[in-house]
Symmetry: C2
Subunit: 423 residues, 2 copies
């Protein structure tokens, strides 16, 4: 018959299993980030290629595709190595479901590239296609952040996810700005989209700053400061793009400097992202190691035979002499029942604190969840496709000059008075 | 290399694993409920036994102990059958940690009973001891409710937990009232405690009504109505107990009718609780079966070779033709890539909806979590034991005539201005 000590150990094993899964997940997040970066570059080069009617950028694009294919193969191996037979992962079903979606997107990439080779698809359509695939990849990172069972790791994943999402907004800004310059004419819809992307980007970076370690937040601030010239140029071009009167001419020659300084910014972001991913990996290993050490200490405990009087201590008030300290398990190889009870209560208290902190960290992911929920509502009630629903929300936000999350909240609070779905 | 379909299936397998664990958990909850009921009876009989200086109730108490020992053995077997090696359970660590605590309490029961046999412990101390052990058992049920991955099952578990918790408050009310009658004298502290227990009980039953199925909510309402005489008698005795002036005499002969009508109420509650537990078990089986059927349908899919044009459908808007309907997987043994993509998107959308609904259901468990957090804060900052912290909160609630949750929230919002912990 299993004892309290057995279950104390079992609980620790559960924690270790969850941490090991987090190590796997963070490796997955790392490769996903590299593929996202590759696809962002490919999207940029594809836009330039299509913008030049296929006369330029064919070679850099081809090279980028080769690189993307290598990273894609690596990511597919990563997916394969996830144990799909076992449901060890906390939110396994959701993660696997996101992966299934991404795999469909990756399967469709060769056909998309063919359409681009033959210039059958427009720059606008291909941009949308890349945006959708990258959104699918980011959703994998989001699930990882949402399912992490350790608050410190969860914080890092939230920081990383927001940084990656911010970088993707920067990538979309590059594409939107390039399209505006290439068209040679300012139009207010394009300008509004640009402003929206800049705003979304900044909010993501704000969340990143809140959740990243001081070291990494500083790294990004420094990277941003060290390239003050490039930043000034970016801001100048942003101003040119956003303040030109509707219909007034834009200098198509600015297209290249715009692309270059946007790309420089994204490359700098990638450096910080790599450091974030590294530090996440190390944190997972460190936490797993620490938990393993504690497990060994627990397993080394040989409880002395329980005396009835000792057992009764369950009904007395424990002295909380190590409420905030580290576990005393390491100190004793042999423990009285009283001390094991202390360990059990410590563990329960710590797990409760962990769960409370996780709730707080996860709340920061709510913005995205609210937007998704509002989209779902629009799809169901207005019979819209996902893309239409997203566009509707974005349009409402632009028209009302409000943030996407505010519009999403308004939509959700209107849920009860929305008309029935038309069939 | 694994395909989107593989991960669609893997996600379904995760769901099934989680549902199977829920079946195990709900069996565990069932036995836990029976042991709680047995211990509540033992607590009642022990109070009568001690109140009569050991001259009466020795035999019924002995019989009740035998029954409790049998249920305890069953629960220990249930614990043993949980796979402690694998961390399949979502919140495994927390559940195992609660079980470890309960096992310490069960180990201490024989010593407690011995102290009662020899009348070394007072009625008050033994009541507190039983209250603590039962609270540990209810915490196991709470974790089960908090970790359920299916909203319908989670709702039932929330209903069941609140019903069990309400029944425990009823049991504590019986003990508190018995103690008052036995003392032969009204005292305002005891009266306040009684009022508090009645209030807590009613709030638990309110949550139960919100979350139980109509059928079970009606079952309880009917049970309550059918025994209107007993209820009237309970209310009369409650009035006698609560309105007597501080220090005025109470008729000790009322002790037996009070005990009887409280016991009748608890037995009626047990009938409803059993039905709840049964219905939970059936729901788990039904859900598992439905998911297995869907899995079989998914596994029967033989995707036809993907044509490039079909793959491109990833980048087009899906027609949400079965957003709210059932999965069409059963309809086809062979599917085009387009249809599998639809299944993948359906799954993702459904899992998102499930997760949103779970958040809502779990929010109802927040009251308890807030109280626990406030207790933890008091323990850390004021150097209190858990029991002292709980008593402090309860006392604050009584003095300020506020609900426990309101006091807990006030304490938490004061966290930043609380003095440093004295060491």
């Amino acid at each position: 018959m299993k004892s309290g000590l057995n279950f104390l150990i079992a609980a620790k094993r559960c924690e270790i299993d969850a941490l090991r899964q987090l190590s796997l997940t963070s490796a997955l997040v790392n490769v996903t980030g590299r593929l996202v970066h590759g696809l962002q570059r490919e999207r940029g080069l594809t836009n330039l290629f299509l913008g030049s009617q296929g006369t330029r950028f064919a070679e850099p694009r081809r090279q980028q595709i080769t690189e993307c294919q290598a990273t894609e193969a690596e990511l597919r191996r990563c997916f394969d190595s996830l144990d799909t037979q076992a449901a060890h992962l906390g939110h396994g079903a959701r993660l696997f479901s996101r992966i299934a979606y991404v795999l469909h997107g990756l399967d469709a990439l060769p056909a998309l590239r063919e359409r681009i080779d033959t210039q059958v698809w427009t720059a606008r359509d291909t941009t949308e296609a890349f945006v959708r695939l990258i959104a699918g990849l980011l959703a994998v990172v989001f699930e990882a952040a949402d399912s992490a069972s350790d608050p410190a790791i969860s914080r890092q994943l939230v920081a990383l996810f927001n940084f990656m999402q911010g970088k993707e907004f920067a990538g979309q800004e590059r594409a939107a700005g390039s399209a505006l310059f290439a068209s040679g004419r300012a139009d207010s819809a394009g300008q509004q989209r640009l402003l929206h992307l800049i705003d979304s980007q900044e909010r993501c970076l704000q969340v990143f700053k809140e959740f990243a370690s001081d070291e990494l937040a500083t790294l990004w601030a420094t990277a941003d400061r060290d390239t003050v010239d490039a930043r000034a140029e970016l801001e100048r071009l942003r101003r040119v793009l956003c303040t030109a009167a509707d219909g007034s001419p834009l200098d198509a020659n600015q297209s290249q400097p715009w692309f270059d300084c946007c790309s420089l910014r994204m490359d700098r972001m990638k450096t910080v992202e790599d450091r974030l991913a590294d530090s996440l990996q190390r944190l997972c290993e460190h936490k797993t190691q620490a938990a393993l050490t504690e497990l060994l200490a627990f397993e080394g405990i040989h409880p002395v035979a329980v005396q009835p009087d000792d057992a009764l201590s369950f009904f007395h008030d424990p002295v909380p002499d190590h409420v905030s300290g580290t576990s005393p398990a390491q100190a004793y190889g042999v423990q009285l029942d009283r001390s094991i009870l202390d360990l059990v209560q410590d563990q329960a208290r710590r797990l409760q604190a962990v769960s409370d902190e996780l709730d707080t960290v996860r709340a920061s992911l709510n913005e995205r969840k609210l937007v998704e929920r509002a989209k779902g509502l629009l799809m169901a009630h207005r019979n819209l496709s996902e893309a239409e629903a997203h566009k509707t929300l974005r349009q409402m936000a632009m028209n009302q000059n409000r943030r996407l999350i505010d519009v999403a909240e308004a939509v959700l609070s209107m849920a009860e008075v929305l008309p029935e779905r038309r069939r």
